[in-house]
Symmetry: C2
């Protein structure tokens, strides 16, 4: 049996604070990326991931894994970025099935153009009121949470649908 007793008020407060801060920060960053470089958040994430990779190259599948996208979702984003000349796509030499996405000079340029503002927003909204000890504490605590999340079992072992039973009430087939 799992515990479903209500959360105590302090726990709830901590959870809400996290959600609130994350949402506000995400929103501000989204604005900044759009204004400074015409980028959406997922596009920025892809470009930033590529910039981190050797030669600015990455296989589609590897990108998708790191960014939690479905493959079709990534295909969509990659197509947008290719259309904007920020990346190129080419099939891999060693495995014809794979597609290698490569950051173009223009893509790097956009990233450079956008970074200062990105940093400025993070600093102004998030870092300003934090001292070194706070930074260390956040990193430690959230690091533990992250580890927990990565190791926690999914909620249901499998979509387990008893043979022949119809979809459950309130269920739709459009998950993430």
């Amino acid at each position: 049996m799992t515990d479903t007793t209500p959360l105590d008020p302090r726990q709830l407060t901590a959870y809400l604070a996290l959600k609130d801060v994350a949402a506000l920060l995400e929103h501000a960053v989204e604005q900044q990326l759009k204004e400074d470089g015409g980028l959406t958040t997922p596009q920025f994430q892809i470009l930033a991931t590529l910039a981190d990779a050797p030669d600015g190259r990455r296989r589609m599948t590897d990108l998708a894994d790191g960014l939690v996208y479905s493959r079709s979702g990534l295909t969509y984003q990659a197509a947008q970025l290719e259309k904007a000349k920020l990346v190129t796509r080419a099939s891999a030499e060693d495995d014809e099935r794979s597609v290698i996405v490569t950051l173009t000079d223009a893509g790097r340029a956009v990233l450079f153009k956008v970074m200062p503002g990105h940093i400025e927003v993070v600093r102004r909204l998030f870092l300003t009121p934090l001292g070194d000890a706070d930074i260390a504490a956040i990193t430690d605590i959230l690091g533990r949470v992250r580890a927990q999340m990565r190791s926690a079992p999914p909620r249901s072992a499998k979509p387990r649908r008893t043979t022949g039973s119809p979809p459950q009430r309130g269920e739709r087939n459009n998950g993430r």
Copy 2:
């Protein structure tokens, strides 16, 4: 001049940890709400906000303020919820312009149905590795950040577009 020097690695790590944890948590909660009650996150937020209000009633504008929605976005969500019989809408008695959204019994029922799973997810993914001291630290630190965000000036005083100049490169007119 604002500071746009790169973030030091520890600051960056803290920021990324926050983003990561928030994203994973949001994703898990989204799944749970859909599975247990057929609710989307914004719908749940609206229902929960209403449940907190006296008599389960709230003006559209007040709802929008608390939830960062544009008015049209809230109209859309309210229409969805009304269609599902989870809320009703009626114009206010004292001010004919205002619309009062009210939680129905069915809406309350869905909320009750969904809450245990919601709590379970938060507890399992977020609270498990945290002691009382951690909870207190998070609340304190993120509380300060939140206050900072709420008081921080927006990035640009106004959309300032020099008279007659065309839209800038990379700019699209589909903001949030």
